[in-house]
C-alpha cells in the first residue's frame, strides 16, 4: 500500500444537534423544578454562590466536564474514534460561551448602580445585579454552554471533514503524479 494512504487524517467526530438537545433540555427543566420547589432558597443560594470569586471558573469547569462526557458517550454510541481535535474544540467553545456570559453579567452588574444614580428609574435600590436577573443569566449560560458548542461543531464539522478529505485527495494525487 502507498505510504500516503496511511497518513493520519483529521479525525473530527460527527455530532448531531439532537445529541446535546436532550441534555440541555433536561438541565433547563431541572432548573425550573428547582425554582418551583425552592422559590426563595434557590435564588438566595445562587446569589451566595455568585458572590464567591471563583464562580465562573467553577461554572466553566463543570460545563466542560459535562460536554466532554457527552462527547465520549456520543462517540462510543456511534462507534467513532475520538481524536484530540473535537474535545479541545468543544472545551474551547464552552469556555468562550462562559466568558461571554461573564462579560454580560459584569456589564449588568456595573449598569445597575449607574442606572439608579443617573436615571432614578428603578424604585428599588440595588447595589448590583438583582437575584432575578442572575437567575435568568445562569439559566441561559447553562443551556447555551451545553447547546451552543455542539451547534458550532455541527455547523463547522462538514467544512472540517471536507477540508480534510480535499487535503487527503490532493496528497494522493501528488503522490500518484510523482510516481
Amino acid at each position: 500500500m502507498n505510504g500516503t494512504m496511511k497518513s493520519p487524517r483529521l479525525n473530527a467526530v460527527k455530532v448531531r444537534l439532537s445529541d446535546s438537545a436532550v441534555l440541555a433540555g433536561a438541565v433547563s427543566l431541572l432548573y425550573a423544578l428547582a425554582l418551583m420547589v425552592c422559590p426563595r432558597a434557590f435564588p438566595a443560594l445562587l446569589e451566595r454562590i455568585f458572590a464567591w470569586e471563583h464562580f465562573f471558573t467553577a461554572f466553566a469547569v463543570l460545563l466542560v466536564v459535562i460536554n466532554e462526557v457527552l462527547l465520549v458517550l456520543i462517540s462510543r454510541r456511534r462507534g467513532q474514534r475520538l481524536g484530540l481535535i473535537t474535545p479541545v474544540y468543544i472545551a474551547f467553545l464552552t469556555i468562550a460561551v462562559v466568558l461571554d456570559f461573564r462579560l454580560l453579567v459584569s456589564a449588568a452588574d456595573a449598569q445597575a448602580p449607574l442606572s439608579h444614580l443617573f436615571l432614578r428609574a428603578a424604585s428599588r435600590v440595588r447595589d448590583g445585579i438583582s437575584s432575578e436577573e442572575l437567575l435568568v443569566y445562569t439559566h441561559l449560560a447553562t443551556v447555551s454552554g451545553i447547546f451552543l458548542p455542539y451547534l458550532l461543531v455541527r455547523v463547522t464539522q462538514n467544512y472540517v471533514s471536507d477540508a480534510s478529505s480535499a487535503g487527503q485527495d490532493a496528497k494522493v494525487r501528488s503522490a500518484v503524479t510523482g510516481q
Binding site: 418551583m36 449598569q111 441561559l140
Partner: protein, 142 residues
C-alpha cells in the same frame, strides 16, 4: 418548604402542546375508522413537523419576553438563544424537505427523532423562561 406552582406557565405550555401536537393527532385519529390511516404520532410527524412547531413555540416565548419588564440586554440574550434553538428545531424539517425536493432519501426515523429531541429542548427552555418571568413578576410585585 412551600412548593410554588407557576400556574400561568403550565397553562401556557399545556395550551400550546394541545393545539400544536395533540389536536392534529386527535383529528387524524378520528378519521382512522373511515380511511384506515396509520394514526401513530411517529407517522403523522415523520417529516419533522415537530421542529416547525418548536420554532413557533420559541417565537411565542420571545413575544412574551418582550412584554416583560426585564432589562433590554437580558431580553435580547434570551431571545437570541430561544430563536437559535427554534431555528435548529425547524432545520430538522428543512433538511427533510430539501432532501425530498431533490429526490434524495432521508430516513424517517432520523427526522422524527431529531425533531422530537429538538422540540423537547425548545419546550424546556421556553417553559423555564416563562417560569422565570412569572417568578420575576411575583417578586417585583411584592
Amino acid at each position: 418548604m412551600r412548593v410554588w406552582f407557576p400556574i400561568e406557565s403550565l397553562w401556557w405550555l399545556g395550551l400550546y402542546a394541545a393545539f400544536g401536537v395533540l389536536v392534529p393527532w386527535m383529528l387524524r385519529w378520528t378519521r382512522k375508522g373511515r380511511s384506515g390511516l396509520d394514526t401513530s404520532p411517529r407517522k403523522l410527524y415523520r417529516r419533522g413537523e415537530l421542529g416547525l412547531f418548536g420554532l413557533l413555540l420559541a417565537i411565542s416565548a420571545v413575544l412574551d419576553l418582550r412584554k416583560s419588564g426585564l432589562p433590554n440586554q437580558l431580553i435580547l440574550t434570551n431571545s437570541v438563544i430561544l430563536i437559535s434553538c427554534g431555528l435548529m428545531a425547524a432545520s430538522a424539517w428543512l433538511e427533510d424537505y430539501s432532501r425530498a425536493s431533490q429526490g434524495l432519501a432521508n430516513p424517517d426515523r432520523r427526522t422524527w427523532v431529531d425533531s422530537g429531541k429538538l422540540l423537547f429542548l425548545v419546550l424546556s427552555v421556553a417553559f423555564t423562561t416563562e417560569v422565570l418571568l412569572e417568578h420575576t413578576a411575583e417578586v417585583w410585585q411584592r
